[in-house]
Amino acid sequence: MTPPDDWRAELRRRLESIEVNPADLEDAIEEFAQHLESAELDLRARGRSATEARTQLLSEVNDATLRELIRRRSGPQRESPLAVGADGAGHPGAGRTADVMRDIQFGLRTLLRERSFTAFVVTALALGLGANVAMFGVVDRLLLRGPLHVRDAHQLHRVVSATRPIDQPPQRTAYLTYAQYRAFQADTTVFAGVAAYNVLHGTMYGVRGNARPVHRGSATGNFFTLLGVRPVLGRFFTEREDDPDDPQRVVVLGYGFWQSEFGGDRNIVGRTIHLDYSVYTVIGIAPRGFTGVGLSRVDAWVPESGVPHSTNWQTIWHWPWLNVVVRTRPEVSMAQANDALTRLHRNGYRGRSEVDRNATLTAEPIHFTTAGVEATQTRLSRWLFGVSAAVLLIACANVVNLLLARTMRRRRELAVRLALGASRVRIVRLLVLEALLLALAGGLAGVAVAYALGATARGLIPDVDWSTGFVNGRLLVATAAFAVLVAMLVGVLPAMHGSSANPGDALKAGTRAGGGRTAWVRSALMVTQAALSVVLLVGAGLFVRSVREAAALDLGIATDRLITFKLDHLPPRIRDDDTAAIRREVSRRNAFYPTVAEQLRAWPEIDGVSLAAAVPFVRLEEDRIRVPGRDSIPGLPGGGPFVAAVSHDYFRTVKTPILRGRSFDAGDREGDAPVAIINETAARTLWPSRDALGMCLVVADADGCATVVGVAADTKRRTLRDEAAIQVYVPREQQPIGDDPRFVIRARDDVATVTAKVRQELLRLDPTILYVYVDRPHEDVLAQARPWRLGAVIFMLFGVLALIVAAVGLYSVVSYVVTQRTREIGVRIALGAQPQAIMWMALSNALALAVTGVVIGLLLSVTAGRGMTPLLFGTAPTDPIVLAIAAGTMVLVAVAAAFRPAWRARRIDPVEALRFE
């Protein structure tokens, strides 16, 4: 039989000198050779001799026609980027740039021709890059960039106080007192400046019906100078206006607030606005996106001295409410700064608490929260950034893999080019250019992915001001840098490989030649992919479990559809010495609550109404309790004891179950025998060996016993992680502990509608009501679960992404291996191998890679998981179910991906396989 390559050699000899793109020439030669080959076989099948057949076919080959055809096919430009002499010499005036341009055109055409390959690579890169850019945007905002408009943010620190209370775990907080702030100001050697501020999220803007809560920042006069921020309009307030002895009611509006409320009116300076029923004069507008040193929106800034305070606010040491920021001098170390803070605090302390006196003060990074620690979402976003880097890595690994396989396929083409005189530099350049083009396309598509993903992530971190935009210059620079980096990464390896092809060998060997080194690299890439996919799947599983655990957590109260309303009254127009009038007003207000509660109870859209001075997730009251015959009440890790004065239908409204005894009823009134209900923890702690029912408990400053009539279930109070604490409930008719009560309402219908209706009704019923504060405990609960949701969504997204990419990678590798071994498989089948055995041979290859990856992935997950424990909820990082599901999914996907090529392997026709190549 005629060696097939004979026709190629013949055609090549006849057509070689045409100046067209070598790839086009190769294509034509291949197509014509195949035709001639088949024709020759047919002629011989009809009984012609080899020589006869050849002679006839050769006579039919018209060189001139074919040359013309090839020229036409190659297109009107007839450029030949990589042909002999095309390196510049053959084209007078064609410089390097022209060469590169031609290479780019050529690369583009090649990529467009291989559509599915290009589509996969671009998609993989887009997802990988997009994920990275999106997560970089989040990390950039939360961690790197810090608050906007702040000069030298790295020198700014938040002061955090750590105390060790007796019987309780150590506590950290960034809330300090004004007295402490003054004490820190005494030192000017360590600190270039000290300022204090506070952001309140429920300040009322406007009056009565039109009032709504806004975010108000209050700050000391030196705050803006310390931060180094400039207003866009007017000016900031100064220390003169923040004089405690002569405070000025001036306000600087936030940029967003100015835009939304006043349409960006440039004549705003000098106008007045109502904040918490005080009148403030607008003196300036803060720059766009300025949020102080925090990250949440601030609508209005006022001087600290100008907001209502208790009379001795400058000197008290026991009631912290201010956040203090210091700017350290450049030459000062953190240890020196910490020492100075603690020393200044202890020397200046004039309070009575030994625990507070011995507090340790430290200067912490500015992005720490007011709890004195890094926010969960910040810690999480750091992880997610790592995760997205892993996804990019997987995507890159896959693209490298595909490019490698492609380079292998193109060995012959590249060899032809080398043989035709193209330089190695030229070929490397072409391959790198192709990779760059791919990365560029991937990068562009990645920006779209980044937008979509970024929107999701931002939605899950709503308490950060994203108003300055998400995709900014830094982000675009980052994308570009990523894209180029990726191009280098995915371009260079295959390019090195491609250019090393020895023309002679490559032309002799078919596509069959694999090269042991490449096979090894490919396997390693596959294992890495599988391992990273498993890590991501484990992460997703852990967060999904956390979300589920949080959702399934028994809070002890049903927060959904629960709304609380707190009233703020206008100061009554009564002379201070008119005691009778004052008494009348007090009793009017006291009567107002139960009367209105009774009316609201009749509304069809309301399921329950009660009054309570303390409500979980809204407001807590701590107070003393005493058990006659016991010296002290043991301190519990959850703090407390907590006391709540509630109306009799409280338990029914919030759905806290009464486990034993009875609930309060209408009979528990003022003057009757005092009663109390305690939670399970209280029952267990106060009377460990006896039944609590019927026991005596002295609550707050009561004169005598309250009899325990019921035991209620434990409830969470502030956070989902709250530890057990003592909680006591008393009827508010008997002991009105705490503030004015709140209406606690359970809506039957849409919560927003009910909220609006009740608010309107309250304002209508009592014209002296100035503000109605609305709280929805459920929003707080949801907000607390948000980091886990964020983790679950992003990990899941990335995990599935990684899995798809890994599956496609496995598929292509197994396909490739089957192709490479077609001959061998054919021989095996010819020798009588069972189809199952052949299939297993191909499958086992993929399985081995996947299982190795799974084992490594599980080890990595368990190791990395330890650092993740504090970010999870009710879930151990070594959760066996999660690990098993992740591992199982990966193996299943690997089998599924390898199945098709393996199936094809068992059906290889031995005759054809032996003829193959």
Binding site: E30, E31, Q34, E68, L69, T819, A913, E917
Partner: protein, 110 residues
């Protein structure tokens, strides 16, 4: 033997018809044309591919390299939307032409 023009015209029609339902490579096309025309039409490398190229240029057919696993890459030709339209109109005019010829020749015979 057919005249060159008639051969070209009928070959184009035949190729479009052959590609109507599936893509084929060049040699397959030439063999099918030969057998369908009972040897009246035959093509070799130098005549078939220029024809295919012209048809490609007119946008009737489209040649594409297909790499299938276990097989060598081959250039397959498939019909385009324009090609399908052309086929339909050509089919119609050929039918009329053949009818006319049949009519004319029958008239002559009687």
């Amino acid at each position: 033997m057919l005249t060159a023009e008639l051969k070209k015209g009928s070959a184009e029609f035949l190729i479009l018809a052959l590609l109507k339902h599936r893509a084929r490579h060049g040699y397959e096309l030439s063999k099918l044309i030969e057998s369908r025309s009972r040897g009246t039409l035959s093509f070799n490398v130098s005549s078939l591919y220029p024809l295919l190229h012209r048809m490609e240029e007119r946008g009737w057919i489209e040649g594409r390299w297909v790499e299938q696993l276990g097989e060598r890459r081959r250039r397959f030709y498939s019909i385009t939307r324009d090609g399908k339209k052309t086929l339909a109109t050509q089919r119609e005019s050929w039918r009329e032409f053949v009818e006319a010829i049949a009519l004319v020749s029958r008239l002559k015979r009687t």
